[in-house]
């Protein structure tokens, strides 16, 4: 019986293949079948959570492309998601356009704004960039509230239901497949992007921008490209969010949401695709863990009953960022990889 070695690849192509081994392919198929039949065996709440996760995965991938791969700190992700969500809401309910135009327009609108933000931010990095993007986010939030003729102001705005070829996707079960397909497309797209020349240029800029420029990477073009692609993906996620929720509101898109997305990619693992997925699903599930835990505590200590509120989730996000940065900089993806190698090399694990 052939023993699998640690890394034994005969060609460059094998090294950059999407699915490295036959087993990964088998597991992928099993996973996809389970996920695809979820509405048949899962309860509605689980379907709702997975819907939320797939939207979050898309947005987290966009942010990871910008922060994890290109190394540009951005606190404006919520603003791009908001632009996408509002574009979809306005186009679908006020103009009545079909879903694919709405989603593409959301992505395009966000990308245009992202490109416009990326150009003045070219000279900035680190602290300056974080401050500039955070201020941008504040400005967008203010615009959403003040420009109430277009956005509905603090009352929010209604979104028409999606209809695909005449089917109205008006329940969580029905919209599930719609979200799943878009998410799969975005994951594939980004996974492919980062293994091309463009992806390698992003990584070079992250690791040492000046060195990258010296060996011929056009920093200007690639930085703007990273901003544009990241906000395009965020815009699509915004559109998906608008369709799923049916009603959106400026309060959904504060700086806090950007920080939540930061928490996701840090907890999941910066600069990895799998990490973004882990992180997004994990952060969506955190409130559920906390709810379950507080119910458990309330059984033990009756005085704690009904003490749970949203604040604890946010506190948990903050704590997770701190703990993961101090103790596990590679995130969940790092833990996952370590477990995997340890099984793979058994009994010679070290």
């Amino acid at each position: 019986m052939a023993v699998r070695s640690k890394t034994f690849r005969e060609s460059y192509y094998e090294d950059i293949k999407l699915f490295q081994t036959i087993w990964i392919r088998v597991w992928m198929v099993i996973f996809l079948v389970l996920l695809g039949t979820l509405p048949l065996w899962g309860n509605p709440y689980l379907v709702y959570l997975i819907n939320l996760s797939s939207i979050t995965v898309v947005a987290a991938l966009g942010l990871n492309l910008l922060i994890g791969y290109t190394g540009q700190i951005s606190l404006a992700h919520a603003a791009f998601i908001a632009i996408g969500a509002y574009t979809t809401a306005i186009l679908s309910s006020k103009v009545g356009l079909p879903f694919w135009i709405c989603l593409l327009a959301s992505g395009g609108m966000s990308a245009a704004v992202g490109c416009a933000l990326g150009i003045p931010c070219l000279r900035l990095k680190g602290l300056y960039l974080a401050m500039a993007t955070m201020s941008f986010s504040v400005v967008v939030e203010n615009v959403l509230i003040t420009w109430d003729k277009l956005t509905g102001g603090v009352r929010g705005i209604h979104v028409a239901k999606v209809s695909v070829f005449g089917f109205r996707l008006d329940t969580d079960d029905k919209i599930f497949y719609f979200l799943l397909i878009i998410t799969a497309l975005v994951i594939l797209g980004i996974k492919n992007l980062v293994r091309t020349r463009v992806g390698r240029a992003f990584i070079a800029i992250r690791d040492r921008d000046i060195a990258a420029e010296v060996i011929g990477v056009n920093i200007t073009a690639y930085k703007v490209m990273a901003f544009t692609i990241s906000s395009f993906v965020a815009g699509i996620a915004g559109g998906m969010y608008a369709y799923t929720m049916g009603h959106i509101h400026p309060e959904h898109f504060t700086v806090l949401l950007s920080i939540q997305y930061l928490a996701m990619i840090i907890v999941g693992g910066l600069g990895t695709i799998l990490g973004s997925i882990f992180g997004a699903v994990f952060i969506v599930l955190v409130p559920e863990f906390i709810k379950a835990f507080s119910r458990f505590l309330a059984v033990l200590i009756p005085g704690l009953k009904g003490q749970y509120n949203e604040e604890w989730n946010i506190a948990a996000f903050g704590l997770l960022i701190i703990v993961f940065l101090i103790f596990e900089a590679e995130g969940l993806n790092g833990i996952w990889r370590r477990i995997k190698t340890s099984f793979k090399n058994w009994p010679y694990t070290y």
């Binding site: 500039a132 000046i210 506190a315 940065l325």
Partner: protein, 298 residues
């Protein structure tokens, strides 16, 4: 014409009062950046927590204003030292990115903890300053505004003396200038860092207490710290005089826009003005008025 001029002076004077608060907040940011190269995103939370703590000490425990303020300042200093010890010290030598992220994590952690402890209600601070406005040379100011200006001036003077003449201040300047050389000279940089965080949090607490006097006290006070970003960018990230000049300039400009442009376009512009200024500065002069230009080597 006479009326126009007095309106202008009035707008500028209240701008200076707001600017003093921005300057105080900016000072806290700059102290930390100068010594440790960290932008503390949790600064606004310290301001908010100080304001709420001071309010609760006065309203619930019937402290007098001065004792409440004193207790708040001491608590803030302790919080600063603890933050440095348990959150920032493990991150020594990590990339800027990770350190920025960790202060962001700290900020939302503190904010939600404050929400859990103090609740989300709006409180009206029992201000110790008399309500009647004061007229000086045709300009009307509230007593609070005058005290803000006086206290900022005193604090800035104290800092100046501390950094210029005291041994500790000299050690801090040395550490900010070159950490390794400072270590070789026998300066305990760990102690310096803890002190810097403590002092910066004290400035935040003072700013918080004064903000409590001028605004409604609630969790939303953290937002004021973000409004001070333009001030530190304008002054240059590492410059103490820059922070003060930047703060004053932003305060005055914000009030000028509020006083002259808002009535024309129908409001809403005043709140965004600092951020528009921030973008303009970043595009024209990214290192601000007094910031040091970074020269990078590969």
């Amino acid at each position: 014409m006479e009326k126009g001029l007095s309106y202008f002076i009035q707008v500028v004077a209240s701008g200076v009062a707001v600017g003093c608060l921005y300057a105080l907040i900016a000072l806290g940011f700059v102290l930390i950046i100068k010594a440790t190269d960290i932008l503390n995103f949790a600064h606004g939370e310290i301001i908010m927590i100080s304001a709420l703590l001071c309010y609760f000490l006065m309203a619930k425990f019937h402290f007098s204003f001065l004792t409440a303020a004193l207790v708040t300042v001491v608590v803030a200093a302790l919080l600063g030292v603890l933050t440095e010890r348990f959150v920032l010290r493990p991150m020594l030598g990590e990339p800027v990115f990770a350190v920025v992220m960790i202060t962001i994590g700290l900020s939302i952690f503190l904010r939600s903890m404050a929400g859990i402890t103090f609740g989300h209600d709006n409180y009206v601070f029992p201000t110790p300053f008399p309500k009647e406005p004061v007229h000086i040379a045709g300009v009307t100011l509230s007593m609070t505004q005058i005290w803000v200006m006086i206290c900022t001036a005193i604090l800035v003077a104290l800092f100046f003396v501390f950094f210029k003449y005291s041994r500790m201040g000299l050690a801090m300047r040395g550490t900010a200038n070159d950490q390794e050389t400072a270590l070789l000279m026998g300066i305990s940089t760990k102690r310096i860092y803890a002190m810097v965080w403590g002092i910066a949090f004290v400035t935040a607490a003072v700013a918080g207490i004064f903000l409590a006097n001028t605004m409604i006290v609630n969790i939303g006070l953290t937002f004021v710290a973000i409004s001070a970003f333009p001030a530190i960018i304008l002054g240059g990230l590492e410059s103490v005089p820059g922070a003060i000049i930047g703060g004053l300039a932003i305060g005055v400009m914000e009030n000028l826009v509020g006083g002259y442009l808002d009535p024309i376009i129908g409001g809403g512009l005043k709140d965004v003005t600092p951020f528009i200024i921030l973008f303009l500065i970043l595009m024209i002069k990214p290192y601000g008025l007094f910031g040091k230009k970074e020269i990078e080597r590969v």
